[in-house]
Symmetry: C2
Subunit: 341 residues, 2 copies
DNA sequence: CTGTTAGCGCCTTCAA
DNA sequence: TTGAAGGCGCTAACAG
């Protein structure tokens, strides 16, 4: 690395000298323009443009005890759900002057706690955390955090602060209901990873199947492995080995659903005639499969964008009017034909 | 937000007092342990653990003119390629004390330049940038950046600094060659987005098809829309409308390939007998489709992990031994049966 | 509305 | 190997 270029750093004082005012006035012009008279503001702005001044975030953070960094705590970077959320976050953050720092806690509650502690030491402007199932310690840390906190991807009656998500339980109920109403009588459940939100989906499936009198624990197949198309095929195989007369599956997500569909194809099982499949998330792929599969559409992008919007407003002290807990809906995308249709 | 908890910030001085040494000694214990005697080191470490000291990054950055932030510039957050790279980056960064700041320049060279300028002002510890096709200005900025720079996802003879990627051109040549060797005689190309790396794949396809005497510009269908499964189907439709006797397609990526496969199914076209399909990237899904499709596997995770490793070592001044330009291979994953097989 | 003063927590430089 | 002094660039708290 023989690259060595000295950036002639332009500071507040340089701008102040150029504009003929004091440094603090320049600072205010940037942070709170309304506190500065229009004439001065114009002069300062001209000096800023002329010199190409860019504020030093480190100095600002040190002096003000606050950063412009939003911490984003996610359990995994491997799944497509997260990338949609991230996209929403970044779309909203654009031009806000905020930046994101991602922490991947790998589904480990203790790692989540540690990341949280580290983040909090850096005086984040805000925090976005996935889920509502933090440890007691993490919950306490978040509760007393000196910045707004948004819980995402789920809903609960006891939010820490802000919240935006949807009900995994309700989504699973809807999907299961759909299968039953389409005429399937022996629905099963395929689940991988089985994190708390997957558990909620299983609970929704179970409740609905029981309510309809079609629940059979032998038709519930789960694994703690991460989800994948391949695993979906395997789980279906396991299910059919264990309960061959199963005529429908509610899948924890669309990767599993696609895998189940491909496996059914391979086995010559007619979908949807002999096997109904309902997925979860409604990935783009799902509506192009043959047959396209029904799926519960989840507002992943909206969760990311909404979380960042809540945070941006809270940071700007324009706390959202009304309840800052947003429950987004899920939408059943019906695609499979009716059973034996 | 009535949450107001004052963190009793633990500083270097607190640790110093606890350990009975001066603040600077604590600082050195953390940054350069070898400069401190073993006995003192142990005492200081004990004090750090006892008080739960976490260094203040802002103060550190201000005083030292350097941060522990690595800037990561990507053209998009929407595609799955990026999430694999990100996963690699985060796996390696763990425990290094570095953190990542993502900049999404949305395939806009001017936005890339601006992000670069903003990043550089914040004294990044390093920079990872996607591609080799920066504007002249961006190239100059990177060339003179006061930190290591890694270009990723592509290879070239004129790296700015460090580099890790693979040849999109060669990958496309391999895929095209495969189709031809399997007996297909009228191969086409489907491409979306058509960013520089997509263009390189098209160039590879074109060169190989021409070399084999089977190139026909009417069989090249591209769009600047983002890639998706749906677009893959559309592109195949367009191709077949324009050149109905096309008997194979090399697809710019696996999303398009899956879409093409589904569209072929819908039209009753037998794959692979009447239409050969080769994708690019080898997403997990591709080996579970029916029929599974051949794809050019790209080391996306390895690029992310490798880039972060190069950077980590360069930052620690243990510059990699030998060439810091790494060309990773791609691997053709043959899955379709032979034509008319 | 504008300026002065002081200091955020750490690291660089120099001295011991 | 350890310490003392000073300042990085900015902003909080006052004053005018």
């Amino acid at each position: 690395m023989e690259k060595k270029y000295i950036y002639k750093r332009v500071t507040l004082n340089d701008v102040a000298a150029e504009a003929g005012v004091s440094a603090i006035t320049v600072s205010r012009t940037i942070r709170a323009p309304t506190m500065v008279s229009a004439g001065v503001r114009k002069k300062v702005q001209a000096a800023i443009d002329l010199l190409g001044y860019v504020p030093d975030q480190a100095a600002s953070a040190l002096a003000s005890e606050r950063t412009n960094v939003v911490g984003l705590l996610v359990p995994s970077l491997a799944n497509s759900v997260f990338s949609d959320v991230l996209r929403g976050v970044y779309d909203v953050i654009e031009g806000s002057g905020l930046s994101v720092q991602i922490g991947n806690f790998r589904y480990s509650p203790s790692k989540e706690e540690n990341l949280l502690r580290t983040f909090l030491r850096q005086r984040p402007a805000g925090l976005i955390v996935a889920g509502i199932d933090q440890t007691e310690a993490a919950h306490a840390l978040l509760k007393s955090a000196p910045c707004p906190v948004v819980q995402i991807m789920d809903v609960s009656d006891a939010p820490i602060d802000l919240m935006i998500g949807f009900s995994h339980y309700d989504g699973a109920v809807e999907g299961t209901q759909h299968l039953i109403e389409e005429g399937y009588e022996r629905p099963g459940f395929l689940g991988a990873r089985m994190d708390p939100r997957s558990q909620a989906r299983l609970a929704g499936f179970t409740a609905e199947a029981q309510a309809r009198g079609v629940y059979d624990p032998n038709r519930v197949i789960t694994t703690t492995h991460p989800s994948s198309v391949g695993i979906g095929g395997q789980l279906l195989s396991d299910l059919l080995a264990q309960a061959p007369d199963t005529d429908a599956v509610f899948c924890n997500n669309d990767d599993l659903a696609a895998g189940a569909l491909f496996e059914a194809e391979r086995r010559g099982i007619n979908v949807p005639r002999d096997l109904g499949i309902c997925g979860f998330n409604d990935l783009e792929m799902s509506r192009h499969l043959n047959p396209a599969i029904t799926s519960v559409a989840t507002p992943r992008y909206e969760v990311g964008a909404g979380a960042m919007t809540l945070l941006r407003d809270a940071i700007a002290d324009r706390a959202a009017i009304g309840t800052p807990q947003i429950r987004l809906g899920v939408q059943l995308m019906k695609r499979g034909s009716t059973k034996r249709g």
